[in-house]
């Protein structure tokens, strides 16, 4: 038994090394895809000469800490509280371990492959492995008023939570060792390229796709992975969501909302009017979505639930993410309504119909919400808020098309790759725990712990 585990552990470590050096190569292979170049700014406010500004640095340092908080304990609490009591710790551990894994891999090879000089629109140059050449005075071309170290850390937190989000669809049945290997592979093979395509001057950026804070890169990406993984894993023995502790869910939702200001307003990469716009758009869409979900549920199921309020809020946060720095307040309100109503019907009506077992609706909320946001950004992007984005309503139907392309590309790439990765993981350590371990709870079987004693 121990031996078995040792092998698994070794496997993990080995793969980690391999992955690190396969990547660039793997990346080249895709070069073909790269289309006609055309500049696009990830940081909407162009900063003339690179110079560290203490105010922008102060804000982005805090923003980075805020996004870290979204994972631990934010998402860990939100997901952990929704899991059955006997699976609470395992659910929290999935987010915790993933944040740690990505943190390490990011400084080793993640940052350089996603945000270093673009290679053919597909991947970043490997020249900054282990942050080679980066020092306290370095500044990235993608964030010209803050230390590169902060930019690296900021992007790290996005990579980490994206992987962690997918876990919501896998909990209550997936082996912890399988999850660890999945995190390494998925972050490497899926997140890095997609982040590069959209934010690292990759081909989607060059296409002019708008994604202020991660509708496609983060939420659609993770949402699709969630769906595919849930299908490969299969259904749990006890289907229901039986939230072990809803006070944790409310706490987690609150911390996510709080941290999301770093996520969205921080994506301006500076402290200015644009970050201000992203801030108030985020709060507005979130509040609207929470109320929308609550009222729809009230009419539909007869009672307004606390879980509904929290779910709607998260739906709103997700949907406003790509739009936060592009739309005006009316746009934010409309996106909020859509984000409260559509995911509700998705998880309450569609899911039971289709019958896939996405435990905590990572697809229903993040996949669907992200898609809503990405598309509506193409509709409501208001040049008066950010001249980098002009939507359908403001006479630029092309933008909507671009958005659809970006969504489709992410959807297909993430879907296919996730499937492949699951097969690999299955081959290495297997995917599901033993039936008896599932009934007894994963806290006991995977960690030998109980949440409450």
């Amino acid at each position: 038994m121990k031996a078995a585990i040792q092998n698994k552990v070794v496997a993990v470590v080995l793969f980690l090394a391999v992955a690190a050096f396969l990547m660039p190569a793997a990346a080249m292979a895709e070069e073909a895809v790269a289309p006609t170049p055309a500049p696009a700014a990830a940081a909407p406010i162009p900063a003339p000469a690179p110079k560290i500004d203490t105010g922008d640095t102060a804000w982005m340092t805090v923003a980075t800490a805020l996004v870290m908080l979204m994972s631990i304990p934010g998402l860990a609490l939100f997901y952990g509280g929704l899991a059955k009591t006997k699976d609470t710790l395992n659910t929290m551990a999935m987010t915790f371990v993933t944040f740690c894994i990505v943190s390490v891999l990011w400084v080793v090879y993640g940052y350089t492959l996603s945000f270093n000089t673009d290679i053919g629109g597909v991947i970043g140059s490997a020249s900054k492995l282990f942050l080679k050449g980066v020092g306290p005075n370095s500044i990235s071309d993608l964030a010209k008023t803050i230390p590169e170290y902060i930019f690296i850390a900021y992007q790290l937190t996005f990579a980490a939570i994206t992987v962690a989000l997918a876990s919501g669809a896998y909990i209550e049945r997936m082996k912890f060792s399988a999850w660890i290997i999945f995190s390494v592979l998925w972050m490497t093979v899926v997140y890095l390229p997609v982040a590069h395509w959209v934010w690292g001057n990759g081909f989607l950026a060059k296409l002019g796709a708008l994604d202020f804070a991660g509708g496609t890169v983060v939420h659609i990406n993770a949402g699709v992975a969630a769906l595919v993984g849930a299908l490969v894993l299969g259904r749990r023995r006890e289907k229901a969501i039986i939230p072990g502790n809803l006070t944790l869910v409310v706490t987690g939702a609150g911390l996510l909302w709080f941290g999301w200001f770093g996520f969205n307003a921080g994506s301006a990469l500076a402290a200015n009017g644009l970050s201000g716009a992203a801030f108030i758009n985020t709060n507005t869409a979130t509040a609207v979505a929470a109320l929308a979900w609550m009222f729809v549920e009230w009419l539909h199921s007869g009672k307004p639930t606390v879980l509904g309020l929290a779910s709607g809020a998260v739906g709103g946060l997700v949907a406003i993410t790509p739009a936060a720095g592009y739309v005006n307040i009316s746009g934010a309100i409309i996106i909020g309504i859509a984000a409260g109503v559509i995911p509700f019907f998705m998880v309450a009506k569609m899911k039971p119909k289709f019958g896939y077992d996405d435990t905590l609706d990572a697809f229903g909320i993040h996949g669907v919400g992200g898609t809503i946001g990405a598309i509506l950004t193409g509709v409501f992007a208001d040049p008066a808020i950010n001249d980098a984005g002009k939507g359908l309503l403001y006479g630029n139907p092309g933008q909507l098309l671009t958005q659809l392309i970006a969504v489709a590309v992410t959807l297909v790439y993430s879907g296919v790759m996730t499937f492949v990765i699951f097969l690999i993981v299955k081959a290495i350590v297997g995917l599901r725990v033993e039936p008896e371990d599932e009934t007894a709870g994963l806290d006991e079987s995977q960690h030998g712990e109980r949440a409450y004693n």
Binding site: A240, I241, S301, L307, G308, F344, K349, K351, D361
Partner: protein, 112 residues
């Protein structure tokens, strides 16, 4: 001496307790339990989707009383715990051999 065990709806506990005190019951032990009977569980909604919960929270009351007042206790509980809706619960009466008060070592009725 008789032991009377009643499984009732939690929110009825205080009413029943007060009524039993009123008829001079010395003591009582309460346990949180869950169960089902005619009332076959209920439906809960999470994110709009329905799930069946088989077991419903109840409380079990145990009272040990001299044979004499057993009937009185019985009717008191039955009356106070009753809502007329299914799920009201059950009362079990059994007898037992001996009771000891730990503090004093007294036995039998005086120990109740």
């Amino acid at each position: 001496m008789k032991r009377i065990e009643a499984i009732i709806k939690p929110f009825k506990l205080d009413e029943v307790k007060d009524a039993l005190n009123a008829i001079g019951i010395q003591g009582m032990t309460v346990t949180e339990v869950k169960g089902f009977g005619r009332q076959k569980g209920h439906v809960e909604l999470y994110r709009g989707a329905e799930y069946d919960i088989t077991f419903i929270p109840k409380v079990k009351i145990e009272v040990v009383v001299p044979d004499g007042i057993a009937e009185k206790v019985l009717s008191t509980i039955q009356e106070k715990a009753k809502t007329g809706k299914i799920g009201d619960g059950k009362i079990f009466i059994s007898k037992f051999e001996e009771i000891v008060r730990i503090r004093t070592g007294e036995r039998g009725e005086t120990a109740i």
